[in-house]
């Protein structure tokens, strides 16, 4: 269940299909990526997708962070959802990688999430969000 969503558009009603199923019959608009799926396989279809759900079966498995960035760097503008073993202290990293909705398996406290997202005023590196890296602030 989506607990946190940082988008204003309508939630897509269509259930997501696996990457293999999508590549077989590609009229679906929602896809689910497992950690070992290659996010690049979706690049030709990004403009007709409204939801890409990235699975995190274990919080330790960080492949989904790279999947998210690859999709955003390829221009994907739809909903990018982190689903599974998503912990409060990961949400800030996930937001920076381009995730804009979260469906954690174990429910998270909204105050704690808000706090986690506002802990750091500055970041050191460019990522998929709009945060300006410190080096750019230094050099204008």
């Amino acid at each position: 269940m989506v607990e946190f969503r940082y988008r204003t558009d309508e939630v897509t009603e269509q259930p997501s299909v696996t990457l293999d199923a999508f590549l077989d019959q590609s009229n679906a608009t929602a896809v689910r990526l497992e950690p070992d799926d290659d996010a690049r396989a979706l690049i030709p279809f990004l403009d007709r997708l409204t939801l890409i759900e990235v699975a995190f079966p274990k919080y330790r498995d960080g492949r989904g962070y790279s999947s998210a960035r690859i999709l955003r760097e390829a221009g994907y503008k739809g909903e990018l959802r982190a689903q599974g073993d998503v912990l409060v202290d990961q949400i800030a990293f996930m937001r920076r990688c381009g995730f804009d909705s979260f469906a954690p398996e174990a429910s998270l406290n909204p105050d704690a999430v808000q706090k986690a997202l506002s802990t750091y005023d500055h970041v050191y590196q460019n990522a998929a969000d709009s945060a300006v890296p410190i080096w750019k602030l230094r050099h204008g």
């Binding site: 919080y59 330790r60 960080g62 202290d89 990961q90 990293f93 050191y124 410190i134 080096w135």
Partner: protein, 542 residues
């Protein structure tokens, strides 16, 4: 020395507040130990055999006197009056109370220090040459590059849950003093057409499956560096093996797909990543470099008076040439005979801080061999420095000799260890306590790990010792022929293992074989490489 600006300080301060909140949630029982584990592990806090252990980052091993004094203060106030300098150029405290941890970090932050990414499956403290800025053979100071990487890697959103921990080293001399090619990524600064860039090695490491990193790119320009490293990491994060922690390091990926295929994938990724604008302008590297400008050396030609024989021995063994005329590099050995390698009391840490402030332009370094360096000492001051060290029992004249042992904490502290390391180090050092005998044996790098994770770098030891558990009994395997220097190699197991006393005897026999067979100025390592294992094996097992 790099100085934080308000951005750097804000990041570290925010981290202290965040960690304080996490600890409070744990103490209040709002989160379980299982849930707390990934949080504390992102901040260098380990639950060890007896207590929490906190690892404090010393970026590229460089610190000033104020920071060094803070390390002493922390040992005094929060620990049992000592600290342990590590092979990652960091310091560990073994007896930390969870409820005091945030206060400790706040004190560290007040002197621009932290424990960020000193553990966890993320990019760890960037290591470098302990002689940076002082070595006669360096083409540039590698530390600005290390600082650039420190900032880029701090809370990197994509690379904080890698398959395994990730270690990067930067050197800039032909002589490798940082075991560069035994890192996940090793960078060697080189010049091409007048411009400084990095030769990139990827996929080295020790642990269960030691590997020497192959060269992946002969020259990456300064303003492409972060994009290129980001590409290296992304390929690893996507394809590195998970599920089996022993196969999850990048060395396994590079080995399995081959250096050529890895290089190809990185090149492809780099072509894309380079378009994202993640490289800061060269002005940022220049800004950082300005902090590492050489200190205000004086014109001095004075040579030290060698008439005190103990001083002369120390001078010959522990003092190294400096690039500036009239100056020298002082190595402080933290390896007293019978002591714990890398340990220093708070009083000793304060003495080293004072000496650095008075005689070394306020700078100290931590070495991967668990010693301390005063990088810029005028030769006329060497005797005074030596006297200060001697009075604090820090004038051990055994740098790079057989008693200058690298050892992990082992089963005395570490929850991963299979065997004790410290008592073996103590016994070997005691056996070879006679300094003339050690000096006769010459450079002999002996390294001890208490388990297969190889934190004591045994694979890179001219003589390496690996402690294993054999049916509930501590057993020690002996390896010969490793090196972490520019002649990098992985040691080979010589035969069946020994008990604690047996391994000390075997080491002694090996040194006797070496003394019989050595030619000219050969080191133990050179003789071993020339004659092979057989004569040693015969003496030890025969």
């Amino acid at each position: 020395m790099y100085k934080y600006d308000h951005y750097d300080q804000a990041v570290v301060d925010a981290r202290v507040a965040e960690f304080r909140d996490q600890v409070n949630r744990r103490i209040a029982g709002e989160i379980t130990e299982d849930q707390f584990k990934p949080l504390r592990l992102m901040n260098g806090l380990y639950l060890q055999l007896h207590a929490y252990m906190l690892r404090v980052a010393i970026p590229y091993g460089t610190l000033d006197s104020r920071q060094m004094r803070m390390l002493a203060h922390i040992a005094r106030k929060y620990d049992r009056d000592y600290g342990h300098f590590t092979t990652r150029q960091n310091i560990q405290y073994n007896w930390i109370k969870l409820e005091e941890c945030a206060d400790l970090l706040e004190e560290l932050a007040s002197v621009e220090m932290h424990a960020i990414q000193t553990s966890g499956n993320c990019i760890r403290n960037i290591s470098s040459d302990q002689y940076a800025g002082a070595a006669a053979d360096e083409i540039a100071d590698p530390r600005p590059w290390a600082e650039l990487l420190r900032q880029w890697s701090t809370f990197h959103p994509e690379f904080s849950y890698l398959p395994r921990k990730f270690k990067i080293a930067v050197v800039a001399s032909p002589e490798d003093r940082a075991a560069m090619r035994l890192h996940d990524i090793g960078l060697e600064l080189v010049r091409q057409d007048g411009a400084l860039g990095a030769r990139v090695f990827v996929g080295g490491g020790m642990g269960r499956t030691p590997m020497i990193a192959p060269e992946i790119n002969p020259f990456v320009k300064a303003d492409d560096l972060l994009s290129y490293i980001e590409a290296c990491l992304r390929v690893y994060n996507r394809y590195g093996r998970r599920g089996n922690i022993y196969k999850a390091r990048i060395k396994i990926l590079v080995h399995e797909i081959g250096a050529d295929e890895y290089r190809r994938q990185v090149a492809e990724e780099f072509a894309h990543v380079k378009t994202l604008g993640i490289d800061p302008p060269l002005a940022e590297l220049e800004r950082i470099s300005a902090f590492f400008a050489p200190p205000a050396f004086e014109a001095t030609q004075a040579e030290p008076d060698r008439s005190d024989p103990d001083f002369a021995v120390w001078l010959d063994q522990n003092v190294k040439p400096h690039k500036q005329v009239g100056y020298a590099i002082v190595n402080i050995s933290l390896k007293p005979i019978g002591g714990i390698p890398g340990d220093a009391t708070s009083a000793q840490i304060d003495v080293m801080a004072d000496l650095a402030e008075t005689y070394s332009f306020d700078e100290l370094r931590v070495t991967h061999a668990q010693n301390i360096v005063l990088p810029h000492v005028a030769k006329r001051d060497l005797y005074a420095v030596w006297q200060g060290l001697r009075d604090a029992e820090l004038a051990n004249a055994n740098l790079d000799l057989i008693s200058d042992i690298i050892a992990c904490p082992g089963l005395d502290y570490c929850s991963l260890a299979n065997a004790r390391s410290i008592p073996v180090a103590q016994k070997i050092a005691t056996r070879f306590a006679d300094l003339d005998r050690q000096r006769d044996l010459g450079e002999l790098k002996l390294k001890i790990s208490g388990c297969i994770n190889a934190c004591g770098h045994h694979h890179a030891g001219h003589i390496g010792i690996l402690g294993v558990d054999r049916k509930g009994v501590e057993n020690y395997q002996l390896t010969f022929g490793g090196s972490g220097a520019e002649d990098v190699s992985i040691g080979k197991i010589i035969g069946p293992g020994f008990d604690e006393d047996g391994v000390v005897d075997a080491v002694e026999k090996a040194t006797e074989v070496y003394k019989t067979l050595r030619e000219g100025n050969e080191r133990f390592l050179d003789t071993y490489r020339r004659v092979g294992l057989e004569p040693f094996k015969e003496a030890i097992y025969g």
